[in-house]
Amino acid sequence: MSDIKKFMFVNRKAPYGTIYALESLEVVLITAAFDQDVSLAFLDDGVYQLKKGQQTKGIETKNFSPTYRALEGYDVEKLYVEQESLEARGLTEADLLVDVTVLGSKEMGALMEQQDVVLSF
């Protein structure tokens, strides 16, 4: 498996309501371990995954949001967030746990086109 493919993980769901956000991180880390080209896209409620200040004690569930900060250590550095999704939720880059690249909808669509494998969460 010497070939490198472009993997994009499209995150469109809020954290905690469903398990997808957590599982997406798992696959991202493993894909990085396979030395693939990894991008993460956050659209719709997926942008909420990156919100600072998550406190899960009251729902007795593990807070996995610190993992986003750890991605850099695994050389996962391409995080893209859709501008329109942020705005519709009253969020700005200052609300987010990590540095991201903010893209307009059509730019995000163009980036998706360039991928080899798109996994949706």
Partner: protein, 119 residues
Amino acid sequence: MKFGIVVNEGPYQHQASDSAYLFCKAAIERGHEVWRVFFYHDGVNNATRLTEPPQDDRHIVNRWGKLAEEHKIDLVVCVAAALRRGIRDENLAQGFRISGLGQLVEAGIQTDRLVVFGD
């Protein structure tokens, strides 16, 4: 007051089972009775004794069983939904029993409030 609870989704995938559990705990703390929890649709997957979550995660199946034992809650798994999804007596967790949809209707009749948790 006497509560009935319905759980429509399996553990971990959706928050439904977590929310239902925390609701039951709070109801008991308030002095109410949780008369029956009915596990329906994918909710039957809350009742498998083979579950083994990561060490640092909550054990959703066992904590239902424990709560039921401590507070005499009737945990009923819908038989038709369970057969479709491979939940049977041989893999049923302690504290649960398998029975028919009539048990859900009965919960609607016998309790003061029926609260549904699902997706």
